[in-house]
């Protein structure tokens, strides 16, 4: 009788977990994300560091060499420079991960989701978006248009997910091969693999009119989700796009609260000691 009761209890407990079970399509081994995953990034534009970029009209140079159209870096500056960083937050929710498909350019797993921005304190916009997670390193290089998407966070929006199987050293060597075949100023681009990503460096005058060096740092986490993006010019950070969740002002606990709390606890302890001492002395 006891055994039957226990079995019933276990069955009921298992049934309780049914609402939390997620059924998803079998996905490629290179896909590290799942249905329902949510991510958020904070976009920070450091306006005070853009003087040289603007003075040298580096935007035009970059647009000539690595054309990104409306997703270029100058657009990012124009959109956000009037505010203090982080200017905006970019939430992404994965709704469905579809079956792998083979296209003309590459084999990939389509990811459907919602993407948008939050402009603190209360403005926001959300839209449906589709991403492709490609199945290998060379496809990822093609997807990033020979890493040219690295030259602007807006351009990175289409490659927020990388295959988990990507070999960063292979990616860099393929990239350098591509640049060598292109020749000219492209041969001045230096790329280095790093754990979970790569670095792109263009030395001063590498693109002819850049008086300072350009440095781009990009990393993906073990699930293939973009975890770090930084564009620097002359060792000054122009823009970062890194994971960060927007917490509305009214939900933030000010740091002063902790100090006040600790201070009050200290006073209370002292008072208790004094009180105990007085009582002991009286008795």
């Amino acid at each position: 009788m006891k055994k039957i009761k226990s079995l019933w209890l276990i069955t009921l407990l298992i049934l309780l977990f049914i609402p939390f079970i997620r059924i998803s399509n079998a996905q490629g081994s290179y896909v590290g994300i799942q249905d329902g995953d949510e991510y958020e990034w904070a976009l920070s534009v450091y306006t005070e560091n853009w003087n040289t970029y603007v003075a040298e009209d580096l935007g035009t140079t970059l647009e000539n060499l690595v054309p990104l159209g409306t997703a270029n870096l100058t657009r990012v500056f124009n959109d956000w420079s009037s505010r203090t960083p982080p200017q905006s937050y970019w939430p992404l929710k994965v709704t469905t991960i579809n079956v792998e498909e083979t296209g003309l350019m590459f084999t990939s797993t389509p990811v459907n989701g919602t993407f948008g921005w939050i402009l603190p304190p209360s403005e926001s916009l959300e839209w449906d978006e589709k991403w492709q997670i490609v199945n290998d390193t060379s496809s990822f290089l093609r997807q990033t248009v020979n890493l040219s998407r690295s030259f602007s966070p807006y351009a990175m929006f289409s490659v927020l997910f990388a295959p988990t199987t990507v070999s960063w050293s292979s990616l860099v060597s393929y990239f350098l091969g591509e640049m060598a075949s292109k020749g000219g100023l492209y041969t001045n681009i230096v790329a280095t693999p790093q754990s979970g990503g790569f670095l792109i460096d263009i030395p001063a005058l590498g693109f002819e009119n850049n008086s300072e060096a350009i440095n781009i740092n990009i990393k993906y986490n073990s699930n293939g989700v973009l975890s770090y993006y930084k564009f620097s010019y002359g060792e000054k950070t122009l823009v970062t796009f890194i994971p960060g969740e927007y917490i509305p002002v009214h939900e933030r606990v000010p740091v002063e609260y902790y100090f006040v709390f600790i201070g009050l606890i200290a006073i209370l302890v002292v008072e208790t000691i004094v009180y105990t001492y007085i009582r002991k002395r009286k008795s």
Binding site: H250, P254, F261, L268
Partner: protein
């Protein structure tokens, strides 16, 4: 501690609070006046991204939590007055000759003031509801508001006791108590937007935590919001510190 004795004192103190015109004005008439005046004046002004919360709503809705907290704060006046008067009239010395302990007397004061605050808050809630200023607060939020105010009362009693200790007469206490009340009323009630530096100053005042938590509850912020619980936690410790300080000081210097 004998419960009967405590409740007998509670009865006496509530009766005396109602009989004293100043106390009656502070406890009942002032909050009503505040709600009516500001309700009619600012009830229809809609503001966006207002104050530190950066929330949107009617200006009156932003003010009500501050008024509730201020009403609770003003309870320090009758406390300071009654303790000073009791001392002046030799009441405390007479109590010492009875079986009533100091703890019983103190607890009765705390309970009677808490009762008055509960009545105050209830009146403000009813009036605010009638004036349409309670659009977002949830029933649980209302309940938590009472809890916050009851805890906050402890700190106001602490202020009252400290005032009674340092004042030589009831008249002096009526003036000195404003040293504690005015800065809090002006800087910590969240009635209007303040610069960040002033907000930091207000964090050293218990009223800030009461009005802060009440503001969040009034705007229907989820009860899982950590800030509400931090407010409550700091308010509890603040109240404990003030009440213990008040009792210690009053015991040592205020009973003469």
């Amino acid at each position: 501690m004998k419960r009967q004795r405590i409740f007998a004192f509670v009865k006496i103190q509530i009766k005396s609070l109602i009989k004293v015109p100043t106390a009656l004005f502070i406890v009942l008439i002032l909050p009503v006046a505040l709600i009516l005046i500001f309700g009619f004046a600012f009830g229809s002004i809609y503001v966006e991204d207002y104050g530190w919360t950066r929330l949107s709503g009617y200006l009156f809705e932003f003010m009500v939590p501050g008024f509730i907290a201020i009403s609770g704060l003003f309870m320090a006046i009758p406390v300071a007055l009654s303790f000073s008067e009791d001392r002046e009239q030799g009441m405390l010395k007479r109590i010492n000759t009875t079986p009533t302990t100091a703890a019983e007397f103190m607890v009765s004061h705390i309970i009677s003031n808490m009762c008055m605050v509960i009545i105050q808050v209830a009146i403000i809630f009813i009036l605010t509801f009638l004036m349409g200023g309670m659009r977002n607060i949830t029933p649980l939020g209302i309940l938590l508001s009472f809890v916050i105010m009851v805890i906050f009362t402890l700190s106001t009693i602490g202020f009252g006791l400290i005032t009674a200790t340092v004042s030589k007469s009831a008249k002096a206490a009526g003036g000195i108590v404003w040293i504690f009340l005015l800065p809090q009323q002006l800087l910590a009630a969240n009635l209007y937007p303040l610069p960040p530096e002033t907000q930091i100053v207000s964090m050293f005042m218990p009223l800030h935590y009461a009005s802060d938590a009440l503001s969040l509850l009034f705007f229907g912020v989820n009860l899982t919001n950590l800030r509400i619980w931090w407010d409550l936690m700091i308010l509890v410790v603040f109240s404990l510190v003030l009440i213990v300080t008040g009792i210690l000081l009053f015991k040592k210097y205020g009973r003469a």
